[in-house]
Amino acid sequence: MPPPRTLCGMSSPRQHAHQAPPAIEAVALRKSYGDKVVLDGIDLHVPRGTIFALLGPNGAGKTTTVQILSTLIGADSGESRVAGHDLRTAPQSVRAAIGVTGQFSAVDNLITGEENMALMADLHHLDRHEGRRATAELLERFDLVEAAKKPTSAYSGGMRRRLDLAMTLVGSPEVIFLDEPTTGLDPRSRHTMWQIIRDLVAGGVTVFLTTQYLEEADQLADRIAVLSGGRIVAEGTADELKRLVPGGHVQLRFLDPAELARAEAVLGLGIRDDEALTLQVPGDGSVHTLRALLDILDGNDVAVDSLTVHTPDLDDVFFAVTGHPDDEKTQTR
């Protein structure tokens, strides 16, 4: 992206949010296949220029949601608009505004990377010169220049994903759907993909991504919705979701049971595990509280073997909201 676009991209989403309709809006989407309910009434609201993550385990309905919002399949009921266009009455307008990168790479495996890109340029009706320029620029940006003349069947998983995304960008879409963009990628390719996604949003587009990885949602998304069994069981920013689960704790490990017992007596709180010889003390893990804790133990000559700080992460949220169907209990415990 050239710098000027990046600059306006940074500020425009917030300004736009008041004027233009949201990038994605869905109310009470339902879809079932026979007796099997896949989506049981989900609502979505994604402002322009933001990254929205739909987080959920396999079979939660993530791919079905993307398929509906990208016009591949129809919902049984519910209203939805993408880039301001109604999915039911104006699917072709929706298609003109979106780009989709599927869970299984949507590249043509029998032809080369360059030919795949040319195919996209032709389908977007770019003229020859413009098509060549856009294709060359994207191949360069996604580090695919060397591989451009090779058939894509010879590409690695990471290269294929990059080509897939490059093809999606040929039409300069406003809203991009990424269905599990990093599933099956090695850590390095995953980080490359994350950076690419961040750059996209800096350029002003809206990204709707699905993922099974909590870390990915935490790293990228402005807002996260947790999908489980066809329902959205939690939604908010990463921080808001983390607040749903009890705070962090410090785990103290001891070498013998006597020390553990003395520590508990001195501190007067914590969850004691006699087998593991550990004591879990509530605390946020800040330097201040850690120092206070260690001072008390030192002052009473309690020998601590080791200490680990556990801050709540999305894993806790995920298990809290999907592991227990009535998550009220988890919150009020």
């Binding site: 298609r95 979106i98 989709v100 949507a106 043509d108 029998l110 009706h125």
Partner: protein, 262 residues
């Protein structure tokens, strides 16, 4: 901005894609051209003398060659349905076709690309088979106009069969299924027709079917155009069958394609 209609423009792009595939992986399309060539040689050189006597008028091997070539051309059109159905079925499972469905392109162009690509390949096969027939002594007495009419009718029939095979490819769940689905058109109808023997020689219950089924009407018309036998009602029936099959295949295929993606 081009003023070309989106359907034409996108179909051209899809055709380019399909021809690229066919050029890189030509194995199956060539294979299906070998079947009619093999049958031509088998029937002319092994059975030709006996069958030539059977078709009457004191026919010999050369007379049988003239008799059998139009049917062999239809068989070439028939075997061409198999790679089409398989290619369409395989393609529909590809992620890139799901991508096409989410793009603001003319949707029928995806199928039109397959149809035009397949017709071109089958026409190439027809030229190859005709060349073999001419090389082993087939000497039609057709005028340029008759050649043109024969080529036109064959082209129309191939177009019709191709739309039908696109539908068969769409309705098949696996490539194996797709290679079996066109069996009536690649094997059954070409045999139960006047390809190898006149329908007069068949028992009456099968003769009625063989006489009026699409392949026979096209074969008899081609035979008339190329070798001067009587055409009669076969001419308009051949055109009617072709147009009917094309329309049916077209509507059926588009309807199948517009279902939800699998």
């Amino acid at each position: 901005m081009s003023t070309t209609a989106p359907l034409v423009r996108d179909s051209r792009t899809m055709l380019r894609r399909n021809l690229l595939h066919a050029r890189r992986y030509p194995s199956m399309t060539l294979q299906v051209a070998l079947i009619p060539v093999f049958l031509l040689l088998l029937f002319v050189y092994v059975f030709g003398s006996a069958l030539g006597a059977g078709i009457g008028h004191g026919g010999d091997r050369t007379a049988y060659l003239a008799y059998v070539v139009p049917g062999i051309l239809l068989m070439t059109a028939g075997t061409g349905t198999v790679p089409t159905a398989v290619a369409v079925c395989t393609d529909m499972a590809e992620g890139v076709v799901a991508r096409f469905r989410t793009m603001a392109i003319s949707r029928p162009s995806i199928l039109v690309g397959h149809v035009v690509g397949s017709v071109i390949q089958t026409v190439i096969n027809l030229v190859l088979v005709t060349a073999v027939a001419l090389a082993i002594g087939f000497r039609p007495d057709a005028s340029p106009v008759e050649w043109l009419a024969a080529g036109g009718l064959l082209g129309l029939f191939v177009f019709a069969l191709t739309w039908l095979s696109v539908g068969l490819g769409l309705v098949s769940r696996t490539p194996e299924g797709a290679s079996n689905a066109p069996l009536p058109f690649s094997f059954l109808l070409p045999f139960v027709s006047s390809t190898f023997v006149p329908v007069d020689s068949m028992p009456s219950w099968i003769r009625w079917f063989a006489e009026y089924q699409p392949f026979t009407t096209v074969i008899e018309t081609l035979r008339g155009l190329l070798t001067g036998t009587g055409i009669g009602h076969n001419g308009w029936m051949a055109v009617a069958w072709s147009v009917g099959i094309a329309a049916l295949g077209f509507v059926w295929s588009l309807r199948l394609f517009d279902r939800d993606a699998r």
